[in-house]
């Protein structure tokens, strides 16, 4: 492997990656995607094992992880921003409570 990874995206179709360590605002970090690595800049602090958007996501866009739909954004999310219960929701549960 070229260099150590700071985040993993598990599938080609994923729109989020999971960070393997806390990443600070404005920090560049390396994401391991299937078959390639990309470098992304964090636009805010991302806590360990939380998700970060790999590209700009519109409001009410589907969020993919493990190659599947895991929920929808409830607001626009910029590439490099935290994707968590404050800006996404699932189908079965409303996680704002």
């Amino acid at each position: 492997m070229a260099q150590d990874l700071d985040a993993i995206a598990l599938h080609e179709a994923d729109s989020v990656a999971t960070v393997l360590r806390a990443v600070a605002k404005d920090e560049d970090f390396v994401v391991g995607c299937p078959g390639k690595q990309i470098t992304l800049r964090a636009v805010e602090d991302i806590p360990i094992y939380h998700k970060v958007a790999l590209a700009d996501l519109a409001a009410d866009a589907t969020v993919h992880k493990h190659g599947h739909w895991i929920g929808r954004t409830t607001a626009a999310v910029a590439a490099g921003a935290l994707v968590h219960v404050h800006n996404m929701t699932g189908r079965k549960a409303s996680n704002d409570g």
Binding site: D4, L20, Y49, K51, H66, W69, T89, G90, K92
Partner: protein, 388 residues
Amino acid sequence: MTEQPTFDGYARPNGAAGVRNDVLVLSPTGLTAPTARRIANNVAGAKLVSMPYASGVVGDDGALRRRTLKGLATHPNVGGVLLISANEPEMEAMAAEISGAGQRVEAISLDSCGQDALRLTHEGMRLAGHLTKDLSRQKREPQPLSELFLALECGRSDPSSGIAANPLVGAVVDRVVDAGGSAVFGETMEWYGTEEALSARAADDGVAEDIRNAIARREQAAEAAGMDLIGNNPGPTNIAAGLTTLEEKSLGSVAKGGSRTIQGVLGIAEAPARPGLYAMDGPWYAPESLTGMVAAGAQLALFTTGPGNSFTSHLAPTIKLSANVETVQRLGELVDFDASALTAGHAALDDVASDLLDKIVAVASGEATWGEIWNEGEEVISRLGASL
């Protein structure tokens, strides 16, 4: 196409391959369980499976009892069975069935020993000793990966499970299934929220419907028991650890099933008719879940854990693996495979998957797991209802 690895296993008369060659002391009746335990404790290498129930287990429960006991008795890792029973007619029918399936079996009842549990112990030890002697002469031979049937389990999860350990197991399962082998994942409640993802991988519409129905039945059972599956799932601990939705949590669990076509939904302890990947509609608790999959014929289990979980199958060597850096350091003599390079960002999934496949081949060929060394194994037969 790279050459597929082989493992050294025991060729069985019915064509299956064992990764162990155990003498199984099997007590289908609770009354003879202590005697069976005395026998197994005093014959080197003998493995005990006993059920604390018998008479009064009826209906679906009775059918599950018989199916599980038969599945364990005819398991490929078992080279010979000693049946110890307090129900002579049932024992004779079971012995005929086990023998008819190509398995060597000896049987002795409490009745035939005049209800003398000590005499039964004595007679049983001699029979188990002769089985052990005979099995010790059998040799391992190279077996193709297509003979392998993996049981997939997770217990005590943390963030390392969903992003590393379970996807790692999934990557290996894809390789084994592509080589013509088999795998099964259970724990139906953990499919909740992945109805679309799993049913999209079903071999046909009937299998897709079976998957959706299995999830719906567990959901109804949980609701009938007063559980709130939606409001607090993922819970506050999950959310604080980075999870957002039920779909995300469940996909992290079913990731251990890989990405290949799901050939069918099995009942607990139901053997698949053909090779491939299967889902088993079974309970989430690891002791019950593992036995259901092992009784279906799985010879080896892959068991992922986050903070640690020592339980293993008794008949199927269980490779315990964790991707949590702290866990693999703390539990060096309980974790068989260290996948923490994935969560540390030091290694790629495909490379670690190759190492895990090497470990599977080594264990299938005789390398002892920590669970085998510490005697962690048990088999726990599920109950579905009340006894008469």
